[in-house]
Amino acid sequence: MPSHPCLVLVEMCLAIPAKIINKKENLAYVDFGEGVLREVDVSLVDAKVGDYVLVHAGYAIQVLDEQEALETLRIWSEVLQTEA
């Protein structure tokens, strides 16, 4: 199962992170972590193979930023250390 800090979240908002394995024009084949590839429309985003996208009802709505995900984790631990 692909490992990525953003591969968490979202049970019911139907927006789930997935990795783009294959892409042809506006159609991508993505892995939600099960190893099964599903078809997703990527017209709404600028994404390339290897990117993780947030998928909602069959459409990618945003590209996930791995750096920002790691930054989030870092900020959280820092906040707890530095603040009185």
Binding site: M1, S3, H4, P5, C6, L7, V8, L9, V10, E11, M12, C13, A15, E39, D41, S43, L44, V45, D46, L54, H56, A57, G58, Y59, I61, Q62, L64, D65, E66, E68, A69, E71, T72, L73, W76, S77, V79, L80, E83
Partner: protein, 368 residues
Amino acid sequence: MTEKSRFRDAELARRIAEKIGQATQNERAVRICHVCGTHEYTITHFGIRSLLPSNVEVIAGPGCPVCIVPASEVDEAVELARKGIVVTCFGDVLRVPGSEMSLLDAKAQGADIRIVYSLTDVIKMAKAEKTKEFVFFAVGFETTSPSTALEIANEPPENLSFLVSHRLIPPAMKLLAETEDLSLDGFIAPGHVSTITGLKPYEVFPRKYKIPTVVAGFEPLDILMSVYMIIKQQKKRMPQLENEYIRVVHWEGNIKAQELMTSVFDVVDSNWRGLGTIPSSRFVLKGEYRAYDANLKYGVKVEHGIDIQRGCRCHLVVVGKIRPTGCPLFMKACTPENPVGACMVSSEGTCRIWARTTASQPSSTPST
């Protein structure tokens, strides 16, 4: 430690909750409102409220797009189905009560009503079954609206039209901000709506209403951190707009999606089930797309429906004025198997979330 568990670290959660407790000790009670069904799911499922001090309250606003669809629009869908048109919708929409019946009831009576996971499924069906007329009952907030706009801009098949029921969340937040007896001290802004809209629509809340506003992700630590950020703003008496969900939400949002929505939709005042009329709160198709407007195509329009059944308190639940447990019907006459109101129908409805969490059944959390 797996990546997922870093976002659900119980020790980190406990420490953030401790910080919140320290920051609010001996302070007056604080009421924070979120407007997203999935935020309510995280809060309820992970017991966030039990971690917060008693003077910090998080209430659930109208974050369930299916719950606030007025009965009149369900009635229109039912009427279309009864005319022999194939009505398609997302799963939750099927059981939402209309004035007399739900789409599920209509289906039981023989109407061709089909649940889809995606609008792409509807496009495929319409192309495959050219002799049939199809309608997509398009429900959802700004997370879902762009895909509808995209497909309409791409010229869908002629035998497909749309019952556009999409609504916008910031106008509902304005209503809550202006509801005096709610006295909100903070907003947790919706995570995935914000990936589309960006943060600009929420600027008005700290600026005009002096309400601290934080866009939050969906992990329990996201919610706790967002509450902490709101509390800190409160203490400094400097209401601001902040983004906790930086890994997915950008300030500008999704520009492509925004441009599509602007080109396909006009924004109008509309009725929300349980909330009444909210100005500039609903998307409708622009004139040049009238060929895809199911209301116009089939001459079906219902002005008024019965939104709240007798005894139902969804109109109070949906603005956070009462908890589900404050409704006398909750888990008695109104259950997930036999829902009375819309809040018990949708997986993002506050009542259904509470019902599923308190019931002794296996958790619905997906496997890692």
